[in-house]
Symmetry: C2
Subunit: 261 residues, 2 copies
DNA sequence: TCCCAAATCTCATTTTGTGAGATTCGCGTT
DNA sequence: AACGCGAATCTCACAAAATGAGATTTGGGA
């Protein structure tokens, strides 16, 4: 498990100290928390400050630094998924009072990268950067169900307990079969799996290699939704997913091939 | 200048490869660019992937990873400046067609952390994360002018050439004197220093220790602005800066002192 | 100006990262 | 299914680089 770059790992580990509850640390607090000696902590801090990942606040406080914001800016600026997704999110959110999310799949993490709220009092809030549960909800299934066989099996294995608890099947093969059947039905629907009283409707987004990289998801208060509307919205979300996939695919082709077809 | 955590610096340096123009790298490209051997590059990549700063994209591509977005989320979520600043930015932008920025000062970097646009065709665009020039413009001066003496001198020294070019004075002492005089006048005004044809009006924001930590800035097309309006807006911006400072101060006091006065 | 805590420096010790080369893995083909 | 290719990982001896005890220097507040 050891990797050969221990000090770098310990340095990056310092950033794990920062949480919603605690965004300011002093060098001494870090020493106490992590058990490194004084010069070591100061060396680590210096490296992170030089790189811009930490910033001084007040005389002895340390917080996350400007590099974080810059890197996020880079990602937002140059992310084809985000650029194309913005207008689509807005269009979807106009269809029904709801929260519409664009969620990127990072292999072992789902992360909201954009959201649009049209519900007056949204029951769940997922701004950019908030992590999502990996094995529950419509989003999760939208991605799992469209994974190539090998990856699907691996992911099921990793999250076997959660998936079993949802009643998708007992064995890995059972669950894989269930998921593969879900492909036929278009958008994936989940009721109250992530937030009580909320229906989630999700469609996968594919990149140029037809691998799922993200999902669109509309979350709607159960009480504002009847079956006919649900069917309509499912269709709309599915088509939005296809549109977004097409954009990503086309962009890739433009990048790679010179000239047009 | 050497620091004692060289490998960590090299690893963080890998993130510097990523730019607006180039958000995808392969291991081999990194090898070629940085000159490290194959196993080393893979070890570095592994450390960054494990920490979530890099993510696989496609079979061999690497991009910035989810940790970046998460950390930015943490900052946005828990940043008192940002939470209090949002409504203030909106109010200011309603006063005149303009782009209103909230810019944080990181000692050697100015970074836009929030912005609100009300101009129909803004001449300059500064979304969150975009760095700003350090020694030009109203923002820069709003902060420099309100620095405590010692820090002001240090910063003038660092940016002597730029400040001289703006005609603020010849020697460090001259410039310090000019800046100190500017304190009296309320909001700081600059014409076309950052973007042609645009007037910038900026006010500093202070934290609990009365040190400037940020600036509010309104940027307005020169042609839509007469002198009376400029005076009105200067006042509004200055007051907004005071409001924001007061919020930060109060919050700190609430955090530190138990009970009320 | 003094004073004290916070931050940095010094340097001997030894842990750790490094790189050449061999090996295994993953995946697309026949 | 077995093959074959390139990408990724592993092995291990060596050298370099990180570590920490203690001394020293900052620098901000009376």
């Amino acid at each position: 498990m050891s990797t050969g770059v221990g000090s770098a790992e310990r340095i990056l580990g310092i950033l794990d100290l920062f949480s919603e509850d605690r965004l300011e640390w002093t060098a001494d607090e870090m020493m106490a928390e992590l058990g490194y000696t004084r010069p070591t902590v100061y060396r680590y801090i210096k490296a992170l400050k030089d790189a811009g990942f930490l910033a001084q606040v007040g005389p002895h406080g340390l917080t996350l630094g400007p590099r974080v914001v810059e890197l996020d800016f880079l990602m937002r600026k140059s992310d084809a998924l985000l650029c194309a997704g913005g207008p689509i999110l807005r269009d979807l959110s106009a269809l029904h009072p709801s929260t519409v999310l664009l969620v990127r799949w990072y292999g072992n993490k789902l992360l909201c990268v954009a959201s649009e709220v049209s519900a007056p009092e949204p029951k769940s809030s997922y701004p950019r950067g908030r992590p999502m549960p990996l094995a529950r909800g419509a989003i999760s299934r939208a991605i799992l169900a469209h994974l190539p066989r090998r990856q699907m099996l691996a992911k099921i294995e990793e999250n076997l307990d959660d998936l079993r608890a949802l009643g998708l099947g007992d064995t890995v093969e059972d669950i894989a079969e269930t998921l593969r059947r879900l492909r036929k039905g278009g958008a994936l629907i989940a009721r109250g799996e992530v937030t009580d009283g909320v229906v989630g409707i999700a469609a996968p987004v594919f990149d140029a290699t037809r691998a799922p990289v993200a999902a669109l998801c509309m979350t709607i208060d159960r009480d504002t939704l009847d079956d006919a509307q649900l069917a309509d919205l499912s269709g709309a979300i599915w088509r939005a997913g296809e549109t977004l996939s097409a954009v990503l695919t086309d962009m890739r082709i433009e990048d790679v091939v010179l000239g047009d077809l």
